[in-house]
Structure formats: C-alpha cells, structure tokens
C-alpha cells in the first residue's frame, strides 16, 4: 500500500504545472474561476494551446497524435487543469468521436477527420439523446434510409436529437440513427457523421433554468448524408455508442473540479460574515464544509484506486459508476454551500454579468454573481452522462449481481 505518486509521476505533475503557469491565459482562468460563460473563441483558444503542446488528444494513441500517457498521467493532467481553472476540453470531438474513429473508423475517415479535430477545423457535437430516448438510449428513432442515385450512395435522415451541448457552435454532429426497424432495439442502430450545414438541419436553442443557452435541439428533415460518413458497420452502431460511453472515465468523478471549488468555497466562507465573524467559524456552516471535505478526501482515494486498477491492466467498468454518482453529488454539494454562503445575496442575478462585454454594476460581493446560477446549473451533473439512477442500476447489475 502506497498512496504516493511515483517520482516519475511527480515529475510529470511538475511539468503540467509549469505548462499551466506558462501557457494558460489569465483571462481564461479568471473566467472559469468566476463562473463566467466561455465564448466559442475562448474554448478554441485553449484547444489550440494544448494542441501545440501535443496534449489536446490525451486519450489518443501516440500514432494518431496523442501523448501516450498512462491512466495516472491522464488523471494528473486533468486534475491539475481543474485546479488551475483551465477551460474544460470540449469533449465531443477529442474525447468522444476521436477514440471511436480510431477504433472503428476506416483509414480514409481517420485520415480526414482526426487531424481536423486536433487543429480545430471541425467543432463536433453529440447526437445521442432524443425526446423519447434519454436514459433509454437504445430507443432512438431518428431514421436513416439508405439510397443510391446519380449523386451516389447516401442516407436520408429524419428525426430529432436533444440536449445537444454547444450544438450552436458545431459544424459537425455524430449521431446514433436507426437504419433497421425490424431488428431488435440495439441492433438496428448506426453511427453516422452529419454535416450541420446540410439542407434540412435545424438547431433550436433550449434555455435552461438559469437562463443560459448551452444545450439545443437538432432537427433533421430529409437530410442527405454521404454513405461514406457511416462509422463501423451498418446496424452495428451500438458497439460504437457503448464504446464511446464507457471510454475513458478516469475523470468522471471530477475530483479536480471539486478540489478547486472547495478551495474557492473556503475563501468565500472566510470573507462572508455571520455575527461579525467569518462564516467559516459558524458551527453549522463549518460542519457542512467539513462533511463535504471528508467525502471529497475519500473520493480522491476511491478515484485513485479505480485508476490504479486500470494501470495494472484492469478495465474500469461499473466502478466508474461509483465515481460518477458520488463525484457529482460532491460537486453539487459544494455549489450548494457556495449558494448558502451568499445569504441574501443568493437571489440577485445579473445574468449579463456572466458574459463578455458586461461593464455594469453587480450586486453583493463579486463571487455572488454566479453562485446561485451555478448551483442550479449543476443539477445537470446528476442527470447527464447517464443519470445517477442509471448508474445505480449498473452497479446493482454489474457489481452486485442483482
């Protein structure tokens, strides 16, 4: 039993820290730590910085441009990025589609799409969920009918996708579509790459409870897609879908985000006052903070235990469901405490203050402007990426054998 990183891993951590200190623009980390909404250009800027160093596609094998990191190194990288308030890597192209193409794509697809993910030529979004297919993803209805005409082999796609995160920025979408209605649920699904500028594609914003536009609905009406955009075999897309969903969940617990958010919370609790003393000294609030800190310390070790099993040749399977459940609950609790810490300043909400170009007055301390909004926004953590209920089903079935 040794809870320490090896000297090599510590050296790697130092290298990541030095890189972040040198290359992460202060303007971006200030936006992330302040809970501001990142513009498309902000995310592209950070991707370009990482790509220049060869660290963007950190889950890809070296031959495709990945850094060749171990599971522990990936964990350290993601952890240090979170602590430094680096923008999140937009996962859809780099962390989701990339690995699928590498495993299931043909050579032409790999040669065409992978470099474009790295250099930012394409912004991908994810076409998985539908209004009737959320937790029950295999119930997708969006149809793709194969045809052959003078213009070539193609599919005609009709249907609707929803919860398409940052779809408003995307030029490409990877979709689960139904190519066979006769086959059993999972077996008639295909994995298709669709150009968002094709005639018949319409993106409509979904405004969330905090007033933000982060997710979208995407409608397809008679959208023509070249058959060469099929990834893997027709009707076998569920294999790609599952691979993508279970791929690389080393950071699913978001421990780095929680550690950073807890540090912020402690700073806030030291500044906010109750009865003339720092809120951090209030017995009730101190107990709430201590509880979540203890949970987080435990989660750090649970997370490392899962990663160590992977590093030793094991496969992270249902264990990542534990990380997802408890990790998101911890993140939610920390944002709940940050909201509580605001007292009466939890209510004022100048939404514009979270966006670029705002030069008006805010209400209460600077850290108050995003606190309640972030708490409400973070309700999504236990819903997306397989709701926590679905994760519990997985644990019941796969680990407990019930």
């Amino acid at each position: 039993m040794d809870l320490n990183f090896t000297p090599e891993e510590e050296a790697f951590r130092a290298e990541v820290r030095a890189f972040l200190a040198d290359k992460l623009p202060a303007r971006l980390s200030a936006k992330v730590s302040g809970g501001k909404i990142l513009a498309k250009a902000d995310m592209e800027e950070w991707h370009a910085i990482l790509n220049e160093r060869g660290w963007l596609a950190n889950h890809w094998p070296e031959q495709y441009g990945g850094p060749g990191w171990t599971a522990v190194e990936k964990f350290i990288f993601e952890h240090e990025c979170a602590l430094a308030f680096a923008p999140r890597i937009v996962p859809f192209g780099v962390n989701m589609l990339g690995p699928v193409l590498i495993k299931y794509g043909n050579e032409a697809q790999k040669r065409h799409w992978l470099p474009r993910i790295l250099n930012g030529a394409d912004w991908w979004c994810q076409g998985y969920s539908e209004p009737g297919a959320g937790s029950d993803l295999a119930a997708v209805k969006t149809s793709a009918v194969r045809g052959l005409d003078a213009q070539g082999d193609h599919y005609i796609v009709n249907g609707q996708k929803t919860w398409t995160t940052l779809g408003q920025h995307a030029n490409m979408i990877f979709c689960l579509v139904r190519t066979n209605r006769e086959a059993k649920k999972q077996e008639g699904i295909s994995f298709l790459l669709i150009d968002m500028s094709s005639p018949g594609v319409e993106v409509r914003p979904i405004i969330t409870l905090d007033g933000e536009h982060e997710v979208n609905e995407v409608f397809f009406s008679d959208v023509r897609v070249p058959a060469e955009n099929l990834v893997g075999e027709e009707d076998k897309g569920w294999t790609c879908a599952k691979y993508l969903l279970t791929y690389e969940r080393t950071n699913i617990a978001g421990v780095g985000f929680s550690v950073a958010a807890l540090e912020q919370l402690k700073g806030i609790a030291a500044k906010q006052t109750k009865n003339g003393k720092p809120l951090a000294e209030d017995p009730a609030f101190a107990a709430r903070m201590a509880r979540v800190e203890i949970d987080l310390e435990n989660m750090k070790t649970t997370n490392l235990r899962v990663i160590a099993a992977v590093a030793g040749g094991g496969v992270p399977g249902a264990e990542s469901s534990m990380l997802k459940i408890r990790g998101t609950e911890i993140r939610q609790e920390i944002s709940s405490l940050a909201r509580r810490a605001m007292g009466v300043y939890g209510r004022p909400f100048v939404e514009e203050a979270l966006h670029d170009g705002f030069d008006g007055e805010t209400f209460g301390p600077a850290y108050a402007s995003a606190a309640a909004a972030r708490y409400f926004n973070n309700r999504k953590l236990s819903i997306f990426g397989g709701s926590n209920e679905i994760q519990k089903n997985i644990i019941s079935k796969m680990i407990l054998g019930l």
């Binding site: 969920s129 009737g132 959320g134 937790s135 029950d136 119930a139 929803t162 919860w163 979904i206 405004i207 969330t208 409870l209 905090d210 007033g211 997710v215 906010q272 006052t273 109750k274 009865n275 003339g276 809120l279 209030d282 017995p283 009730a284 609030f285 709430r288 709940s336 909201r339 509580r340 605001m342 007292g343 009466v344 300043y345 939890g346 209510r347 004022p348 909400f349 100048v350 939404e351 007055e361 209400f363 209460g364 309640a372 909004a373 708490y375 409400f376 309700r379 999504k380 236990s382 819903i383 997306f384 709701s387 926590n388 209920e389 519990k392």
Partner: protein, 380 residues
C-alpha cells in the same frame, strides 16, 4: 380537534386559486417575473380588490382577517401560482404599523390594504447573514427629526416600493438588541438611492443607499431604541408567509413530478413503475406533509402571547421548510431528468423559488440555531 379551514378562508383560497389559474398561468407569470418592472401593478391591484391583502389584517387594522391561518391560506395559494407581486412587504410592513404605529401612522395601512401603497421591508445589510439584531445603518437626531446613513441589502421589489420600513441603530453596539429603531421612509425621500436587478427566482430586488436621509419626527415607528420587538413581529409574519408560500410551491412541484412519473416512458414502461422512483416520491409526499404540519404549527402559534413558544414554532417551520424545500426542488428536477432543467417548464421555476425562500428571513442553519437558543431561554 379540527384541521379544516373555516368556510370563509376556503372561499378566499378558492377565489384566489381561480384568479391565479385564469390570470397568472405560467406564460403570464413568466412574462411578469422577468419584466423590467418586476411585477404587474395591475395584478397587484386586482389582488387587493379580491381582498387578498385585506385578509392579512385584522378588522381593527382595516382588514377582515389577520390571523395566522389567513396568512397561511393566502400565501399557500400565492406559492402555487409563483406570484411575484409584493405581498410579503405588505404583510410585514403592515404588521409593524399595526404593532407600533401611532394613529396617524396606522392610516397608511389603508392604502397598503387597497394596494395603492407598495410597502417594502428593508432590514438586512451587506455584511449580515440573517442576523436580527445586527444593524449598522445609523439614525441620528437632527432638530426634531432624524438623519439616516447606511445601506440595506436585497430588498424584495424595492424599486417599485412607495414606502420602506428601515431599521437603523440609534444607540448601542452594532449587534445589541436595544438601540434598534424603525423608520418609515417614503421612496422619494432625498438621499435615498434605490438600485435594482432581477432575482434568479423571478421578480426584482434592490439595494438601498441612505446618504443623509432627512426624516421628520413622525417617521419614527414606535419607541426610539425599542424597535426589536416590532421587528420580531414583522419578521415572524414574514416567516409564516414564506413558509406557506413554500408549501404551495412544494405541492405544485409534487403534482408536476407525479404527472411526469405517470406519463414518461423509458424502456417501454412508465418510469413511475420503477420502485426506486416510487420510494423517492413517497419520501417527498411524507416530507411535504411534515412541512404542512410545520406551517400549521407556526400559524397556530403566531397569535399566541408566549413569545418563546411563538418564535420557536416560527423557527421550527422555517427550518423545516428550508430543508424540505431544497429536497423537493432537487428531487423533482432529478426525477424529471433533463426536461426539468428547462426554462419552458414551470417545474424548475418552482424549484428556484423553493431554494431561494431559504435565502429570505433566515436559512435552515439560522433558524435551527435560533430554535436552540430560544430553547435555552425556556430552560433558563
């Protein structure tokens, strides 16, 4: 033993619920709640005409109710409708006028009850965390009147208020119970600046800056330095109102969630058939019934003469409502899944209001600590 409301109260609740259903459906509410004004003057006026504000006051004050259960019935209906109109200010400032006002001051109650005066309660300050006695805003005698200096934080619908009830210190240390005085400050008074912004749960809030605000002798409400008792009465009414409002919002959130469990299918079956969700819904029902009992306890206690019993029941209710409100908010969003996160659905707006009620007049922790402290007073 009888847990039925009187027929008068049931009729009032029915007509209020009907009015809200007809005039304040979600689309209308959403428009009003995010409007630049912060609420609808016309709707507020119509509430007054329906007798909704009058029900909050006794006959002696010009109303026709004023009991704890009158407040509970009215605010539960307002909570179901997510009403943002400034009725909380009316009940709190009105109570202070009733409890401590001179005859001349009490005349202001008439226009509060008929909806012509929008009243706002301005007590919290930037560095307080719901403390009752911590008041830094100062009032000093000047001639036969007063001069106020300081600032007040997050006053509900403060921009549109005609009349503020402002707490200010006339003597003592910053957190002394003695030395707090209450002042009636008209909105147009020189030296008073009101700056507003939207609230995350709808409507607007405002910051008050008081910079050499000159008031006449008649602005002092009650006895100089003895404002705390009146403050406690006003906050008590406000706490009961918020608890009842939360109860209405919880019932609405529960109904919406139950409807969803009964209609949403995944894996080919209704999600309401999953035992994991059935048990969570059963927990919500149980907790909401506990919340209802807490409101009943507080409504029954508020008119009692035993101060500690009254205040403990109020703090017990606000603690319960804070805890259960957040639970109902979070669970009902979770059981809805992604759709529960969307602005177009009423449900998340109930969730936001439920959570934000905990940020008004003392949160869970504040009221739990207060409940314990009041218990020590009984023991002593």
């Amino acid at each position: 033993m009888n847990f039925e409301h009187t027929e008068d109260r049931r009729m009032l609740a029915d007509s209020l619920n009907r009015f809200i259903a007809e005039q304040y459906a979600f689309d209308a509410r959403d428009r009003i709640a995010k409007s630049a004004h912060g609420f609808s003057k016309e709707i507020f006026q119509q509430f007054a005409e329906l007798g909704v504000i009058g029900a909050l006051f006794s006959e002696a004050d010009g109303g026709f109710g004023g009991g704890g259960f009158d407040i509970a019935v009215v605010f539960e209906a307002l909570g179901r409708g997510l009403v943002v109109e400034p009725l909380l200010g009316a009940v709190m400032v009105g109570e202070a006028l009733s409890a401590a006002g001179s005859d001349a001051q009490k005349e202001k109650l008439g226009d509060i009850i008929n909806g012509l005066t929008v009243a706002a309660f301005a007590h919290d300050e930037a560095d307080t965390h719901y403390e009752r006695t911590r008041v830094s805003t100062r009032a000093e005698r000047s001639g036969d009147g007063w001069v106020l200096n300081g600032a007040k934080a997050v006053v509900p619908q403060g921009e549109q208020a005609d009349l503020f009830l402002v707490s200010a210190r006339t003597s003592g240390n910053v957190d002394d119970e003695a030395g707090i005085s209450l002042f009636l400050v008209p909105a147009k008074t020189a030296g008073l600046t009101v700056r507003g912004c939207p609230a995350i749960d709808g409507g607007r809030v405002a910051e008050l800056a008081l910079d050499g605000v000159k008031l006449g002798a008649d602005a002092l409400l009650g006895t100089e330095g003895q404002g705390h008792a009146t403050l406690e009465r006003a906050i008590g009414r406000g706490v009961l109102a918020l608890c009842a409002e939360a109860l209405g919002a919880m019932e609405a959130a529960k109904t919406a969630t139950l409807d969803y469990l009964r209609t949403r299918k995944q894996f080919g079956i209704l999600i309401g058939s999953f035992q994991a969700l059935q048990h969570r819904m059963a927990d919500l029902l149980l907790e909401i019934e506990q919340a209802r009992s807490a409101v009943i306890n507080a409504a029954a206690a508020i008119d009692g003469t035993d101060r500690v019993a009254r205040e403990r029941a109020l703090s017990a209710a606000k603690f319960s409502i804070g805890r259960i409100g957040a639970l109902v908010a979070e669970e009902s969003i979770q059981m809805h899944g992604g759709i529960g996160m969307t602005w177009e659905l009423p449900l998340p707006h109930y969730a936001k209001r439920l959570v934000m009620i905990d940020h008004q007049l003392g949160d869970e922790d504040h009221h739990l600590q207060r409940y314990i402290a009041l218990g020590k007073e009984v023991a002593a």
